[in-house]
């Protein structure tokens, strides 16, 4: 045992009281669907956790109908103040059951308990608390004096932050007065189902929130359902494009939060030690399964060697292993399929001539694991500089002038986030001005707050989540609603199928 070795400190799973199987959550109750069932497993051990249902198109139809009834019935008759009180209840229940939710999240997703406990779940509570306060203040949301909800929102979320993405979707939708049908990711349904129990504890009116588990077919049935007024999707750019095609020509509103290939720019006047911490946080947080991950490090040539040496030294201290261990920095890759993609792109990185490095690290035998990895000598044309890897793999590029850094940072079809490291404020603000990205972090990275809007430029999607701007995705101004009606009157109503 060296000084870097820690005794195991596993968080107990005794706090969980899981059922052996979960139904679909429709109209306030867990019900059986007719699409069969599938297992959700722990990616760290490949062990079975519980069995969940695969919602069929008919099940989705039932869920949308329940949401419609709730929207046109009790939910829309509630005052904003009462809607807010329901959301405050959720925030408090999430806080009360925080540890349980964190353990469930780490078990199902593979992320370190340190992150689920200190980042994901506290942010979930914060998100509901924040939007709860908006429910009776919508006239200040910036979309006119009498904004109205859109109706039924169909929401499809990814596996990287299962419960947090649920909160990002559900909290603003409900604050604005919509009803929702949400599909969690196939590999991470667990916390969404626990959330359904929280809705029951909060005595939520039935049908306001419906949760349908399943895979791509379920998601497709949801976003194409004619009873859905608004589609919100977070996930890959490829699937986002497919959804945008499916809703094209319909009257559905759409927001997309898609992939990224963020530049994390380190200038020669940066606080290097802080920057190294930020680089590590930027790419290795959540195993790099982060759409806004700082996956391209742009480092000024004059400090390249110093930064890389310090980065390698820091990486050698990262502990990879049991997600439930409180000392773990990097947990399991979420699925075999994702691990395969990370391996394939990393192999391509080597083939294209970049230099690959990982610290020595013992990976567990079972489960899906990938050591933290950096590639140096990466060129802008390399696949690993262009494709989103969505894993703990950093591509390092260099630049000489701020103009070159800006040009390289923007040289991507994505535009979700970016990082800037410099002690010079005027440079940070000038560079931030030039970056085509929806979120720019300066001397920090991967910060999230319900008060702060988040979302991408270009092929990272459209629409914002979080803050006042996040409400706009779920509200129609009175004038806007009139325009939509006019369009519907003059245009064929049927959506084009592609």
């Amino acid at each position: 045992m060296t000084f870097l070795d820690y005794a195991p400190a596993p968080e107990s799973t005794a706090i969980l009281d899981l059922k052996s199987e979960y139904g679909l959550f429709i109209d306030g109750e867990f019900v059986d669907g007719d699409g069969g069932s599938f297992a959700t497993i722990s990616p760290a051990t490949e062990k079975h956790i519980t069995t969940v249902q695969s919602a069929s198109a008919a099940d989705v139809d039932r869920a949308v109908a329940a949401a419609r009834r709730a929207f046109e019935g009790p939910w829309s008759r509630l005052s904003g103040s009462d809607r807010g009180k329901y959301l405050f209840r959720i925030a408090r229940l999430v806080q009360e059951r925080a540890r349980e939710l964190a353990v469930a999240e780490s078990l199902d997703n593979g992320k370190p308990i340190r992150e689920s406990r200190d980042v994901d779940v506290p942010l979930v509570a914060a998100w509901f608390f924040y939007y709860a306060g908006w429910a009776d203040k919508l006239e200040h949301a910036g979309v006119g004096s009498a904004p109205r909800p859109l109706g039924v929102a169909g929401q499809v979320i990814p596996w990287n932050f299962p419960l947090l993405m649920l909160a990002w979707k559900i909290a603003p939708a409900l604050a604005a007065g919509n009803a929702v049908v949400l599909k969690p990711a196939e590999t991470t349904p667990l916390t969404a189902l626990l959330f359904a129990e929280i809705l029951q504890q909060a005595d939520f009116p039935p049908g306001v929130v419906n949760i349908v588990t399943g895979a791509g077919d379920t998601g497709s049935a949801l976003v194409t359902h004619p009873g859905v007024d608004k589609v919100a999707f977070t996930g890959s750019t490829a699937v986002g494009r497919a959804i945008a095609k499916q809703v094209a020509g319909s009257s559905k509103r759409l927001t997309l939060e898609l992939g990224g290939k963020a530049a994390n720019i380190v200038f020669d006047d940066a606080p290097v030690d802080q920057a190294v911490e930020g680089i590590v946080n930027g790419i290795f947080f959540n195993q790099g399964h982060v759409c806004c991950a700082g996956s391209r490090l742009l480092v000024q040539e004059s400090v390249h060697d110093e930064v890389i040496e310090k980065l390698k030294r820091r990486m050698a201290t990262l502990r990879v292993g049991d997600p439930l261990d409180k000392n773990t920095d990097i947990g399991a890759i979420n699925s075999a399929a994702q691990l395969e993609r990370i391996r394939a792109l990393s192999a391509i990185g080597e083939q294209e001539g970049a230099e690959r490095w990982s610290p020595a690290c013992d990976l567990p035998e079972n489960g899906f694991w990938f050591a933290p990895t950096i590639f140096t000598g990466v060129d802008t044309s390399h696949r690993i500089a262009r494709d989103e890897i969505f894993g703990p793999v950093l591509s390092v590029l260099t630049f000489r002038t701020p103009a070159e850094a800006i040009s390289k940072a923007n040289n991507t079809p994505y535009g979700l986030s970016a990082g800037i490291w410099s002690d010079k404020g005027s440079k940070i603000l000038a560079v931030a001005n030039e970056l085509r990205a929806g979120v720019v972090w300066a001397n920090t990275f991967n910060r999230f707050d319900p008060a702060s809007p988040f979302g991408g430029y270009k092929e990272s999607g459209y629409g914002r989540e979080g803050g006042r701007h996040g409400l706009a995705a779920y509200l129609a101004s009175t004038a806007g609603a009139a325009v939509v009606q006019t369009e519907q009157a003059t245009k064929p109503k049927k959506g084009r199928t592609t």
């Binding site: 306060g133 200040h140 005027s426 006042r468």
Partner: protein, 286 residues
């Protein structure tokens, strides 16, 4: 055999503690029917000054807390108030002589008012602040910040809801307050102080005085460490003198409201007790 009730001694609320007035004075509080309810403490000039010291001491911590934290604490006040709903219904009913139904409505509105203002804690800055598109290579951002210590003469005829209406919007942004409760109906205010004292609210953020507003308010209006004075409930006093007394240190003044009992929830009230700070920063690649 009926049980003999234990009567509560009503005191002041200063710096998180419940002292008697240093003057040793009290005054009898009666119901509209003339029945004796309790003796209330009659705060002195020194009590008012102590309260300002306590409020000033609370400002750095409270205004420096995150907006999320302040919002949760205001929400906690609502939770605590809800749990003691029956007590407040009884106190409002006794103080004002209204029906249990009317008193219940008042208490419910008071709870909901705390929730409404709690929600503003992390929102008002985005609604009233923002970036300014100046004509030059500058980043320019305006942010409202709390004014500091606000003295308040609470509405006289609405001892609970009226008090919430003036206190919540002042503290939500990070101010600390010294509030003079309704002179004739001071008892619900002191019970609200007990709620505040058990809501994780840092000591000194809210200080409650009972007694004669005509006697205490001039000292607060002219106090150099008071940054703002809310005269909403001072309509029956010589409030013009109070406004003039506030001028020396350019204390911000909110004049009495003719409809003091109908103080509506308003963003404007929050903004009244803030100062807008604008930050310029150059943008340059060199």
């Amino acid at each position: 055999m009926t049980r003999l009730a234990v009567a509560k001694t009503y005191k002041l609320f200063i710096g998180g503690a419940f002292p008697r007035s240093e003057s040793g004075r009290t005054y009898p509080v009666a119901s509209p029917g003339g029945d004796f309810l309790a003796n209330a403490a009659k705060a002195s000039r020194k009590d008012a000054r102590d309260a300002v010291v306590a409020a000033r001491g609370a400002v750095p911590g409270w205004s420096g807390a995150t907006a999320y934290n302040r919002g949760q604490i205001l929400y906690r006040v609502a939770e605590m108030l809800e749990g003691r709903r029956a007590q407040f219904v009884e106190e409002v009913r006794a103080a004002r002589g209204v029906s249990a139904q009317q008193a219940g409505d008042t208490v419910d509105a008071s709870i909901d008012r705390w929730v409404w203002y709690a929600g503003w804690a992390d929102k008002y800055a985005q609604v009233v602040g923002g970036s300014n598109p100046v004509a030059g290579p500058y980043f320019n951002l305006s942010v409202p910040e709390p004014t500091g210590v606000v003295a308040i003469v609470a509405p006289q005829e609405s001892p609970l809801l009226g008090l919430v209406n003036v206190v919540a919007p002042a503290i939500v942004s990070g101010n600390a307050v010294v509030v003079i409760a309704s002179e004739r109906h001071p008892l619900p205010a002191m019970s609200l102080a007990e709620v505040i004292a058990t809501s994780d609210m840092p000591k000194g953020v809210v200080n409650v005085l009972t007694g004669s507003a005509a006697e205490i308010a001039p000292w607060l209006a002219s106090h150099a460490d008071v940054d703002g004075i809310d005269l909403t409930g001072a309509g029956a006093l010589d409030w013009v003198d109070l406004e003039i007394a506030a001028v020396d240190t350019l204390t911000r003044v909110m004049r009495p409201s003719p409809l003091e009992d109908a103080v509506a929830p308003s963003l404007e009230r929050i903004v009244s007790w803030t100062e807008v700070k604008t930050v310029w920063h150059t943008r340059s690649l060199r």
